[in-house]
């Protein structure tokens, strides 16, 4: 295991079974599954900000949920600091390793230990806060659950630090309020504070700004960026918005229908996209200069049904450059430059 990577995803699969009705059974239709995540591999280095970009339904949220053990992967490995989360989530113990080995703990304690070090910021700040808890209690709850504070002063100090780190200054102005007394941006800051209070090493930010007004998006993203600077937190940022991803991330992985199609340094991916899907996304991303005319690449059709994934390259039905061979063989990753890879037969 490299010392660099805090998170390694190895050929992760997550399939959800489709309800098998009596009618299906009578028609002798086979059991079907939704291929939410279909063989995804990537590494995240410690202190890095990686963007996971994709349309809705591409499987990016599912990847995040699997990393935190909120869902059990169908197949594959998720190594967090070298420990396979996929095994914990299944309830399988790994009684090996050093005295500090997480693998020695019971499943419940493993998950606790994981959540102590890896936290998630959810998409919708209007839904992800318990309306009956005061801000203080929301932020203090993780501390209580993980037994990290012994007295009231310590708890207050840590809650204050988390709230103020998240931009809610002064903290005592906010912490006696209820979520519905705050604006969307303030709520999302509370969600971030609730994740930060544990001082996690990894933060999974699942579309943290998509529900917010454009005017406060940059503030929240800058906040995330500053957190990395101040605490060295690793961030996995999932989004459907190339512009926000380009704003502050180091590397970018583009997902399409449960697969990563291109991964590389953010600037390189945006400047010189290799995969036709990335090219299409980049070509339609808005640019501030209205005089700058570009050739837009408009994709035809919809994202195919993830129950019946197209054979060959899964992008071929919509790809403007598709050839006959794209329908037959699944493209492997090709290294374009160092660290920049894409999965396309035409490369």
């Amino acid at each position: 295991m490299s010392n660099q990577a805090i998170l390694q995803i190895k050929t992760l699969y997550k399939h959800f079974p489709v309800a098998h009705t009596v009618k299906d059974r009578l028609a002798r239709r086979p059991h079907q599954v939704v291929h939410a995540v279909d063989g995804v591999s990537f590494d995240v280095a410690r202190g890095e900000i990686l963007a996971l970009v994709g349309e809705s339904g591409s499987g990016k949220t599912t990847v995040g949920m699997n990393i935190l053990g909120l869902q059990v992967p169908t197949r594959g490995q998720i190594l967090f600091d070298g420990h396979n989360i996929a095994d914990w989530a299944k309830g399988r113990l790994r009684p090996d390793g050093s005295p500090e080995d997480l693998g020695k703990l019971s499943r419940r304690r493993q998950i606790m230990a994981l959540h102590r070090r890896a936290q998630m910021v959810f998409q919708d700040p209007y839904e992800s806060l318990n309306p009956r808890q005061r801000i203080f209690d929301i932020v203090a709850e993780p501390l209580e659950i993980h037994g990290l504070v012994s007295n009231r002063e310590e708890k207050q100090a840590r809650v204050r630090a988390a709230l103020e780190d998240s931009g809610l200054v002064p903290a005592d102005h906010f912490w006696n309020r209820y979520p519905d007394e705050l604006s969307g941006g303030q709520r999302q800051r509370v969600v971030i504070a609730g994740a930060l209070v544990l001082e996690p090493e990894l933060l999974i930010a699942d579309e943290p700004v998509s529900m917010l007004d454009v005017s406060i998006r940059a503030e929240i993203l800058t906040l995330l960026q500053n957190l990395r600077l101040a605490h060295g937190i690793t961030i996995l940022y999932t989004t459907h918005d190339l512009a926000t991803a380009g704003y502050f991330t180091d590397r970018m992985a583009v997902m399409y229908l449960g697969r990563i199609v291109e991964i590389g340094p953010t600037i390189e991916v945006l400047k010189a996209p290799c995969h036709p899907y990335t090219q299409a996304l980049v070509s339609v991303a808005p640019v501030p200069n209205p005089r700058k005319r570009r050739k837009r690449m408009i994709l035809q059709g919809e994202v195919p049904n993830p129950i019946q994934v197209p054979p060959g390259c899964r992008f071929h039905p919509r790809c403007p450059l598709a050839e006959e061979r794209c329908k037959q063989s699944d493209p492997p990753f090709v290294e374009v430059t160092q660290n920049h890879k894409a999965a396309c037969l035409l490369l």
Binding site: L68, L70, R108, I111, M112, L114, H115, R116, Q119, M120, F122, D124, E127, S128, L129, N130, P131, R132, Q133, E141, P142, I145, H146, Y178, D180, V191, G194, A195, L198
Partner: protein
Amino acid sequence: MQRSDYLLRKIGFAIATLLVVVIFNFFLFRILPGDPVKLIIHSPRMTREAQERIRVTFGLDRPIWLDVEALKTGDLPRVFDTQFTAYVRNLLHGDLGISFATRRDVVDLLRERLWRTVVLIILGEVLAIFFGIALGMLAAWRRGSKLDTGILLWGLFTWAMPTFFFGIILILLTRGILPVGGMSTPGLRPDDGWVFWKDVGRHLILPTLTLTLLYMSEYMLIMRSSVVEVLSEDYILTAKAKGLSTFDIFRRHALKNSMLPMVTIIALTLGYTVGGAIQVETVFSWPGIGRLMFEAVQKRDYPVLQGSFLLLAVSVILANLLADLLYTFLDPRVKPD
């Protein structure tokens, strides 16, 4: 708006409602067909004069709410000397009249009966609330399992069952094992101490069980759907991601949030149960308010009916007020405006 203003306004509404009930309560029984005096008189040989004397005794010779004759003759003091003013005047003095049937003071009658009903209801409600919430939560937790289906079916079955039928079935099932009627075995008196109270306890079992099973079904079903709804909220997922165990998620997040609809339902049923025990009390001959009302209806005992309706209305209004006030404390989203 301040919370105290909100409180005052809610109390104001409650008082207004009560006034309407008081007025309505009077006229409702005067509109009903039938002559109460005829029901009091058992002997067909009673003279007209004697009948008239009874009318005067109970004030039934006076016009209902306005003496039109007196108005015409200009005898103003008599215009409002009617059954209605007498009713209001007596009510203000805490006098609900005298029972036609038993010649006893209605207030005494109600006071004597109320605690019996309250004992029955409190027992039934507490058990129903406890088991309803517990089973509802269990069903929601194990959603989709056989246990859940079982609880759901049982809930729907008992909810749909008529009270009296259910009571009779229970009597049949426990025939000979448990006393099926009354509050105590005839002959035993409170002076007998422990033996008497043990006997009352045995008599309580069946009616309490009937009440519990009936109310429980509603609480169970509503708690289940409420918890299922709350569990699908995003903040539950957030809690999970923070590292909370299933138990902690229930205790810290799901339970409190799913109790909101329960508070309303419990408060409302509490209001209705004072009278809602009519069927149970009748089936099990439990001498409480419900049975008193049942007998009063049969005997057209207006004062008793009026009194118990008033009691019923007051408890419903109080329960509603309580639910309103509890809500503002339980749910910060309910803004007093």
